[in-house]
Amino acid sequence: MASLALVDVNNFYVSCELVFNPKLRGKPVVVLSNNDGCVVSRSSEAKRLGIKVGSPWFEVKKRCHNQGVIALSSNYALYADMSNRVMSILARFAPSCEVYSIDEAFLDLSGFSVKERHGYALSIKHTVLQWTGLPVCVGLGCSKTLAKLANSYAKQHDEHNGVFNLSSLPETVSDTVLKTLSAGDVWGIGRPLAAKLKALGIITAFDLKQASPALLRDQFSVLMARTIAELNGVSCMELEQVSPPRENVSTSRTFGVSVTSLQPLSEALVFYTTRAAEKARRQHALASAVSVYIQTSRFEQHHYASGCHTLALANPTNDSKQLAKISLAILRQIYKPGYRYQKAGVILSGLVPMSVGRQLDLFAVDDTGYRQSQKLMAVFDQINARFGRQTLKLASEGFNTPWQMKQAHKSPSYTTSWKQLLQVD
């Protein structure tokens, strides 16, 4: 029988911070989203204080302060490096491995005998902890959905030492486990779906397992029928070992301070556009359309404004200069003076792989412009890879960047910057 394992890091962002700051262990710690907007990760101590994921920071700030909660800005350079380490370690443990998100991966353990799997999962957990300092839980099951569910069960029940195998148990026993988990714990059942299921009397994961797939498919979707099959141990979702190339890339940020004039807005947009163009080049893709949006804070009741516009490109490109020009042209169309803008973003869509080739411009005399731009961008990227981001940049990105993110409590980039290594006496 197939056996899949879901390995994920407990409280990933907070755990990364604790590796390099052991003084914070045992204390309530939260990590805030970009721009210190809301709580995105909590230590178990912070969870016990009842701080919810997604709480806007300005709402819970005072209370956190009173309760001694330590808040950190998010440090994505650190989290990405730690994630790469974890995924690379996990890949050693199984012939195939699907990286599912920044902190979780599915492993195929079908090649191991039923007896071996539990011990093997324990050694995965032990190795990741020893090598990276990050605690993980491992859930095993004969479908992805069951592996996920086993993982949440392991998280909720410390006595299992972070490893739980749903498929090694007799069905009567695994059913009692499913009865303790709510339908909302099942992969793919979000809160709105869980509420609808509840109205049908489907409350626990076990209820969902027993439900009629045909009936629920009609009422919901084929995905629901698939989830029910997976709960019954029929694996319907294979491991995706190579993530499909993304069809669009985007960069957006909330500004540190609201922006009221065109100049800083333009600078921010050029900055986001070059970031998105870099992402497209990393995927060896050309963008066929550019969308730009700007908006004021949602809390600005009387003075709310937002604008969004997309331009399709005759010549797909990933050239930062060309894309920046286009973004600025769009911005001038949607910008309205007199508003306090708080967020802006750029989306490059209709990405086509460079290898597939591009539609040539009917009116272009020749193709040298394209080739020159590709060369220039390659040099641009090489220099920035070697000497650090933003070594070469477009002048229109500006130099003062007053709109840059608020990251009042960010930890150093311990693993990715020579200047910010951990200092030990």
Binding site: I89, W131, Y414, L422, Q423, V424, D425
Partner: protein, 196 residues
Amino acid sequence: MKLQGGKRVGAGRPAGRNAYGEPTVPMRIPQSQVVPIKAFLETCKLADKRFWGSVENILNAAVDSPVVLLPWFSSQVPAGFPSPADDHIEKRLDLNDYLIKQADATFLVTITGLSMRDAGLLPKDVVVVDRSREASVGNIVMAVVDGEFTIKYLGLGDKGNPVLIPANPDFKRIEIKETMQFEIWGVVTGSVRKYL
């Protein structure tokens, strides 16, 4: 009757006594196929009849032979003789290979104090810390004592307890007691210093 011209019986080479070992016939072939057909015939001359196979195979092979990549010597060959160095192409030395065994478990840390001076670790030195190694007595380790990082020699105390030993007489040994929070974070496996 007088015979003049024409075929003379018994003249010439007996049929089949040629390079192919069987009678041959003249035939017109398209110009474009001369080369492969000639090549085929050459092989027929050399090879045992049993291995000829069918002409079709050979011709098809000549038309859609797969692309074969041949090795390209990286040095120029001025006199038709390859450089003896071609057999010894190696990549340039990389300090990562020298310093790091398990990249996934290795972290770099900057030294700030003088407590390990006599072990050759000075402020601003960067040390390589490998978390995948089990620490043994005598190793330089990075430890966490009551929430604080420290880099010291790992020793064994009188009661079998761990002791952290500095490499500088101006600093004190740290005897680890049961009441202390103690953890070995990683083993120091190397160090790097820049002078300029």
